[in-house]
Subunit: 107 residues, 2 copies
Amino acid sequence: MPVNPYPQPPADEVDLVEVLRALADPVRLRIVARLTDGEYHPCGVEEYGLEIHKSTLSHHFKTLREAGVTATLVRGRNHGVRLRRDELETRFPGVLDSIVAAAGGLS
Amino acid sequence: MPVNPYPQPPADEVDLVEVLRALADPVRLRIVARLTDGEYHPCGVEEYGLEIHKSTLSHHFKTLREAGVTATLVRGRNHGVRLRRDELETRFPGVLDSIVAAAGGLS
């Protein structure tokens, strides 16, 4: 059985401090704001309106995923990323939505 | 006029990323949870049930204050610290309370 190249913590092991550290960055807040619909989104720079290098963006995705904020899906050569919004809302009610709203990502 | 030795950002200049960075620490979350009544509290280690050095605690207070999370009051040789809860609630609705609740500091 292949090792999952994109491991993420199970919902009940997601740590609040790690989530806050992951969200405490302007680029990652922007990514998260883009993902609030809960759907899978492409991992390309153009999706997020960011002028940063692809490898820098990959690092941000890794930080978000390892903190439990996002989930990554691999289909062939394509990667998709989605917010773990429901799981986070259950574990830390109001935290993600209030932060995203404060960042201007939600109306 | 003396320079304020404990400067803090005005409410409308408090930055969300700085607030999240300040809160993304187990010791600082514990301090903040202790301060949720909005009153001034002593700055001593014993107030927070923390087994850390006084200078380490001072560093944590500095981080919280500079991010705009707390305000420091000096009366003679005594220092007091309080949460800027109302100002933060106005600027970033729900953020502080949901985080403190998630940290177990509010019922």
